[in-house]
């Protein structure tokens, strides 16, 4: 056990160094870590990998914090434009001073019980005065309705992708975080998950949202 933890710690330190390499910590920035949580007993949690095996009761969670107040939009969309496993997107306010929040908020759950088509996990940090927030909030709120018609949900997802594309598409106006993901991260049982060690960060500003994309293609190519 001790050897495993020691080994994992070494990788975590290297991963954290990589993850924060492109971030200017003097400027507003946000951090995110996706994890797979398995309710116990004992509870287990590990950094999310798209290649991670699915299993009964497993949940995907997103830990988020930020240096400055902002909003975060988290959505997982398959390459062919559908919500991954029906996961409803989340838009939440992130408090300043690195106070963490956990997504998705109840009652939404992102279950990792069935495999999915290739997909992209989008995490967008939006400054409070960002012009896209109002539209994003309206759309995400509309998508929370569990009884929404599949066709409407499909159109909503298309709209969400359009919105994300608009925010994240222009390289010159988005801070893209490096696309690395931990090649190995230890499994933490019965202890607080040290998510910040696995987090990826991105700067954000009113005209330059921070974007983190976890792509299943990247996982496949590794």
């Amino acid at each position: 056990m001790g050897r495993i933890l020691y080994f994992a710690l070494g990788w975590l330190i290297a991963g954290t160094a990589l993850a924060t390499a492109a971030v200017d910590e003097e400027k507003p920035h946000g951090r995110v870590c996706l994890s797979i949580f398995e309710p116990g007993p004992p509870e287990k949690e590990e950094a999310f990998q798209i290649s991670a095996p699915t299993g009964a009761g497993k949940l995907v969670r997103a830990y988020v914090d930020a240096s400055d107040k902002c909003s975060v939009l988290v959505a997982a969309i398959t390459k062919d434009g559908k919500l991954v496993n029906g996961w409803r997107p989340q838009l939440a306010d992130v408090p300043p001073e690195y106070e963490e929040i956990l997504l998705p908020s109840a009652p939404v759950k992102w279950e990792w019980t069935a495999s999915s088509a290739p997909f992209d996990f989008y995490v967008l940090f939006l400054a409070p005065d960002s012009k896209e927030i109002a539209e994003a909030k309206k759309l995400v709120d509309a998508m929370q309705n569990p009884k929404v018609d599949d066709r409407v949900l499909g159109l909503q997802t298309g709209k969400l992708k359009e919105l994300i594309g608009r925010i994240a598409s222009d390289k010159s106006s988005a801070n893209q975080a490096p696309g690395t993901e931990p090649e190995i991260g230890g499994v933490f049982r019965g202890a607080a998950f040290p998510w910040r060690q696995f987090a990826r960060a991105a700067n954000f500003a009113a005209d330059r949202p921070g974007v983190v994309i976890v792509s299943s293609e990247a996982a496949e190519t590794k």
């Binding site: 390459k79 062919d80 434009g81 992209d120 309206k138 759309l139 509309a142 998508m143 309705n145 929404v148 018609d149 066709r151 409407v152 499909g154 159109l155 909503q156 298309g158 709209k159 992708k161 359009e162 994300i164 594309g165 608009r166 994240a168 598409s169 222009d170 390289k171 988005a174 893209q176 975080a177 490096p178 696309g179 690395t180 974007v211 994309i213 976890v214 792509s215 293609e217 990247a218």
Partner: protein, 703 residues
Amino acid sequence: MTPDGSARSLTAGEHVWLRSPWPLLLVICGVAALWTLLAGDPFEGLEMRWFGQILRWRYERGIAPPVDPSIVHVDITQSDLRKTPTLESEYQSAATIIRQATELGAKVLAFDVVFGRGDQAMADPILKEIESTRSQSKTVILAEALLPSPENGKEERIRSFPFRERVLPTGLINVRADNDGVLRRYDYVHRSGTDKYEPSLALACYLAWRDIAWDKGVTFPSRDVARWEELSSDFTSVEARELKLDTVLLNYRSPWTGKGSAAFRHYNVAQLDGLYQTSRPTNAQPLGNAIVLISYYGAGLGDMGTTSIAPNQPRVILHSTALNDLMQRSWLRRTPRWIDAAAILVLLLLGAVATLFRGTASLLFFWVVGVAVCAVLSATLIVKAGWVPGLMSAAVVWSLLTLVELGRRQSHEFIQRLKLRSTMSLYFSPHIMEHVLQNPGSMEPQQAELTVLLTDLRNSTAIAELLGPPGMFQLLNQVFETQTRAILAEDGSMEHFLGDQFLSYWGAPDAQPDAADRAFRASLGLITGMEELRTNLEPNLKALFGYGVALHSGTALIGNKGSAQRLDYGLVGDLINAAARVESLTKYYGVLFLITREAYEKLSPSPKVRRIDKAVVKGKTTPLELFEVRHAHSPEHFDEILDRYNTAFAEYERGSFQAAEGMFAALRDDRQDKPSAVMAERCRELANDPPKDWNGIYHLTTK
């Protein structure tokens, strides 16, 4: 413009087109509005040039709205093509573009390129990539064109890979320029026959972007409307979106090479490859959900044309602009004819206001204001409301109206001047008349300082009996001709001919500082003329022919007097009555020419005169001091008579009537001086009955 009060009589009978602005205003506006309604805007070219100017101005001022960042151009440039010297490599490059753009997140790729050459083997890389994108729910759209066949004129489809079945979906790249060669308009749907519709490249891109299939998702509830379903604006339901199939005006945000948020993103092939390489490590999707339009761009490559906003633009910008307009619902539409016609009719209201602007300068100012209003309103409607109105034609019609109104006013004024001239020539010398015509206000009623000249023909009854009516009128006209010539030579104005009397004046309608001198010189000229006339008369007529001339100065009222049917510009006041009395006294004293002290004191230099008398004429209370002027026809011994008369008159004024009588009688007898005769008789009467409080002023009892 015309003397007050006379305008009505002067305009009577004038043509209605000139008298009032309304007939021309109504006709021009009516014709222009009707023309616009039935045949379209006659100045459509001007409207379109103005429209282009507004688009350029909007971009240059940085107020053009941003384009949707989802639209991206990939330009295959000359330098890119140099790297693909063969058709195979060119097709391979196209396949690479598809793969890279797709992996960078693009959702729709549209080629404004027709792969019309090669064979199946060459096409395979492209077709393979197209197939691959389909598996990722992405779409590649190939351009097609419908062109008339040069052989039979029938519509012929120009498409990619003609050696195999069509690769769907496709979008038509048919565009047509206006008559001036400028690409302004776009048809989202091509309609052939009665019910066959095909999407343009822009519409095909949009539908693919929205995951709407053309053949299943789009319906045509009427001939001119396409309908499909989209997410509602509150994102909670599905609602129908309808697209009118009429031609729209493209809302160009920026030129092809423009910068800023109003310009589309561009990458050439090399840049796309660079973007692809740099984005891989971050999984970044700089083309996330984008619609990528791929076209040739470079000298000799692809189609170029002049658009509303700039010349030499790749035609693909029509499709990207149309696509952007569709996404933002921001295309422009030409206002319907009836609105353009109504705008022209609104000019009638402006015309009504313009009638308040009497002067040319103010009318021109109002014209400028009207044109500016049209321009600003037009620009506002284009920029803010998305409508391109026919206000430039309204501005042209407004300019025409202003010109016509100016012409009408000039013509009206010219005719008025002609009428006025013919009327005033009865009263004024040509010089005075010109001055009056240039200063119409000078004919306003006024009180003026005048010198009047009044002359009268003697023995007219006897002469009339001698000559009979024709002869009498002939003589009168000769006399008046002579008098008129003398008056006009000194810029005098004539009041009227009344019987054989003739009144003229100086000092009005405009002040003449030397009015008395002019009147005096006119009097001398008149006497000379009359004496010349006398020499040509028959002896029996010559004996009867006589006249008197009187000159008097003072104030009088002058202006138009009479009724609406008959007006005269003339004098009113005691000055005229006094002048008439003085003229009568020439007969009483037996002299030719009398002037009053009021006139005499204004003369410079003072002529040689004999003070004849100081008297109060009948009906008056103010005494007049009368002088006989020496002139060319005065008695030969005028100076001697003058001295002796002055001596006698001094005695008379002192009240030494008997002494004065003797002197006057002697002068009467020695020189047959008629005033001396009158004074001798008066002195005799006064000597018999000396007046109390004698002050040298005699009260005459006859007119």
